[in-house]
């Protein structure tokens, strides 16, 4: 085991941006009569953060585990860094980093020893000290995994995923169950990985997370990809409209408001206006000008843009996270 310096994490020396790091073709996994993953195909380029978004049981984890070599696919293949996972599993596993949905570790090894243990498994490994600094866990080096908070444990799991300075990193629900502050921290770390030229594939069922982090998103439902695009592309494809909700006093007229640019629909009740628009910004500017010119007080202004939640609802007719909706 050779120790390499942390700055080599940033050493992805200007790769061809279009280089395909992950090529998944028609992956299939069956459990008895149930088909958990039913012909999933996608490609991820170097330096991308790619998201698999979908409800629980959609097949996200199973898809990842087949690519990571934990499960054997019943059909299809995955080329990881150009290597076939079915034929060169160990070689693939040397260049990938993995964070499972729930990472349980040896209760007898402290944080630093755990990182060293995982490091020893690879031909090359980063120093525990540097990794701990990277995931902001330096002060917990001597703590045992079971004494860490949920957020700290996730950060340790992330450190373990990075221990071999991998080219491709798989994160399975990296922020599940974390408090908002810990989530933000993890997002920052993931975004910094992209800056270092790493390729990241993550699963989530938080649409805001997918929207903030992911360059492209595949929406998975019942073992199949039902849409794949950038967040903006997915939302744009909906043809969805933004909603502006406000109060206008001083006799503003619905007929006048509906004349504003971009507005497609206006509802009015007791001075409360709800506008639908295809072009949110011009409409909003025009609305402000209209209120000023009329001398109407504009209060309680709310602007809602469509989200991936709306996209999922539109595609499947179901909520993405019914339990939290």
């Amino acid at each position: 085991m050779t120790q390499v310096e942390l700055h080599s994490l940033s050493g992805a020396a200007t790769p061809a941006a279009s280089e395909i790091m992950l090529d998944v073709q028609s992956l299939v996994k069956r459990y008895g009569s149930r088909t958990a993953v039913n012909g999933v195909s996608f490609q991820v380029r170097r330096g991308e953060i790619f998201g698999l978004l979908g409800p629980n049981g959609a097949g996200k984890t199973t898809t990842l585990e087949m690519i990571e070599g934990i499960r054997t696919p019943d059909g299809g293949t995955a080329l990881v860094g150009g290597l076939d996972i079915r034929k060169e599993k160990r070689a693939v596993q040397r260049i990938i980093g993995v964070q499972l949905q729930a990472t349980s570790l040896f209760p007898e090894l402290n944080v630093q020893e755990t990182i060293q243990f995982f490091g020893a498994v690879y031909p090359k490994a980063l120093k525990a000290k540097d990794l701990l600094a990277l995931v902001n866990l330096s002060e917990k080096a001597r703590a045992f995994p079971q004494d860490l908070s949920g957020g700290q444990r996730q950060r340790l799991a992330l450190a373990l995923a990075l221990v071999n300075d991998p080219q491709i990193i798989f994160l399975d629900e990296p922020t599940a169950g974390l408090d908002p502050q810990s989530r933000r921290m993890l997002w920052d770390t993931v975004l910094s990985l992209r800056e270092r030229g790493k390729t990241v594939i993550l699963t989530t069922h938080y649409m805001d997370e997918a929207q903030v982090l992911c360059d492209r998103i595949a929406i998975l439902d019942q073992g199949q990809i039902i849409a794949l695009d950038t967040a903006a592309g997915l939302i744009g494809r909906l043809g969805a409209q933004s909603t502006i909700d406000c109060k206008l006093d001083g006799g503003a007229q619905a007929s006048e408001v509906s004349e504003l640019p971009g507005v497609t629909k206006v509802r009015e009740a007791n001075g409360r206006f709800v506008l639908q628009t295809r072009q949110m910004e011009p409409t909003l500017l025009a609305l402000l000008r209209y209120a000023t010119e009329r001398g109407s007080a504009l209060t309680d202004l709310q602007v809602r843009t469509p989200t991936l939640e709306d996209v999922f609802l539109d595609l499947t007719g179901r909520e993405l996270r019914p339990e939290q909706a």
């Binding site: 085991m1 990571e68 070599g69 934990i70 160990r90 070689a91 596993q93 040397r94 990938i96 993995v98 499972l100 729930a102 990472t103 349980s104 570790l105 040896f106 007898e108 090894l109 020893e113 060293q116 243990f117 995982f118 020893a120 498994v121 690879y122 373990l160």
Partner: protein, 361 residues
């Protein structure tokens, strides 16, 4: 190679930090040695009550009786067969030695047909075993004398000294065996725990081969066992002057073999459990009776019937037997051969079961 060394070291740290394993193996063995050494240390030196029935009335039989009377570990009562057998039944004798008529003549004539009969009191297995040891050593002495030199029967004094066992002398090798059982069968709990917790699943996403991790764990436990045995034996020798009559290299070999046997069995057991708590309960359920039936604390050689059959199926019985033969009797390879073969059979059978049934994830 460096990777493998790291694996063994990490596994060693893991085992070292499992206090329950250390306490139940080294802790239990040390406490037992201390208790038997300080409280019952001399108990075994209580004289064996031996009834001698001389039906021969020859010079040889008189000589033999006299030799027996000079043995410190024996208290001799002479009498006729009926009285002595009654005394044995009443528990007043531990054994009765019958020297049949013609014994002296047969011995003088080259020894053909010469035999002694011994009746044991089986109600106290400790004494029965000690009596057996004592008498067989005497017979051994007679045989050697008959084979090598003419003249009166003499006893092998060293053999006699070796069999004058204190309780602690008997218990110490039993503790060596017991320690190996407690320290190594629990590997089953460890492996099931890894699988149950999903630790093996996380490892499956790395290039680490399961066999490397398992070997690391087995080697770590083997090293820990050896270290614990060194502590235990040093303590027993230092505090209670335990004599190791046999070859130290052979003793070390049997200790390693015993550890590997227990590890292999633990490995096989881990194939059949999904919950580490259930595996733990099963190991306890097996270990606790085996600790006694395997003869760690008291001899079980004389027990017959169903219990005897069970005892003779236990790996710890053979391990303890081999250890005791080496430590107490100075036995060489020939004597412990059977025990070693039985342990080897246990290893092979366990590995076969593991090969068929074990799942890493």
């Amino acid at each position: 190679m460096a990777t493998f060394f790291s694996l063994v070291r990490a596994n060693f740290v893991m085992v070292l930090r499992q206090r329950a394993v250390i306490i139940s193996s080294l802790g239990l063995a040390v406490i037992s040695v201390l208790v038997f050494g300080y409280l019952f240390g001399d108990g075994g030196a209580a004289k064996i009550q031996l009834g001698v029935v001389d039906q021969d009335h020859s010079a040889t039989s008189a000589q033999l009786t006299s030799q027996l009377q000079h043995n410190d570990s024996l208290a001799i009562a002479a009498g006729n067969q009926g009285d002595e057998q009654q005394a044995l039944k009443n528990g007043k004798r531990d054994a009765v030695l019958i020297i049949p008529a013609g014994f002296g003549a047969q011995l003088a004539g080259g020894g053909a047909g010469a035999h002694l009969m011994v009746l044991y009191n089986q109600s106290n297995p400790v004494t029965a075993a000690q009596t057996k040891l004592a008498i067989s050593a005497i017979v051994d002495g007679i045989n050697r004398a008959a084979a090598n030199q003419p003249g009166p029967v003499t006893l092998d004094e060293q053999g006699v000294a070796a069999k004058n066992l204190r309780n602690i002398d008997y218990v110490a090798p039993g503790m060596i065996g017991m320690l190996l059982m407690w320290a190594n069968l629990t590997v089953a709990v460890q492996l099931v725990f890894w699988r149950e917790q999903g630790i093996t699943r996380r490892l499956a996403a790395t290039p680490l081969a399961p066999i490397a991790m398992i070997t690391g764990q087995l080697l770590a436990r083997l090293l820990l066992s050896i270290a614990q045995e060194v502590v235990l034996i040093a303590l027993a020798v230092w505090l209670f002057n335990i004599q190791i009559y046999g070859n130290l290299g052979l003793l070390a070999l049997v200790i390693v073999l015993g550890a590997v046997t227990m590890l292999a069995i633990g490995f096989a057991v881990s194939s059949f459990f999904k919950k580490s708590q259930a595996a733990n309960a099963a190991i306890l359920l097996v270990s606790f009776p085996m600790m006694f039936l395997g003869g760690s604390y008291f001899p079980v050689n004389g027990i017959s019937g169903v219990m005897g059959t069970i005892i003779h199926a236990l790996p710890l019985y053979y391990l303890n037997d081999a250890l005791r033969q080496i430590v107490n009797n100075g036995a060489g390879w020939a004597i412990i051969q059977t025990s070693v073969l039985v342990l080897a059979a246990w290893i092979i059978a366990s590995l076969l079961v593991t090969w068929r049934a074990f799942r890493w994830q």
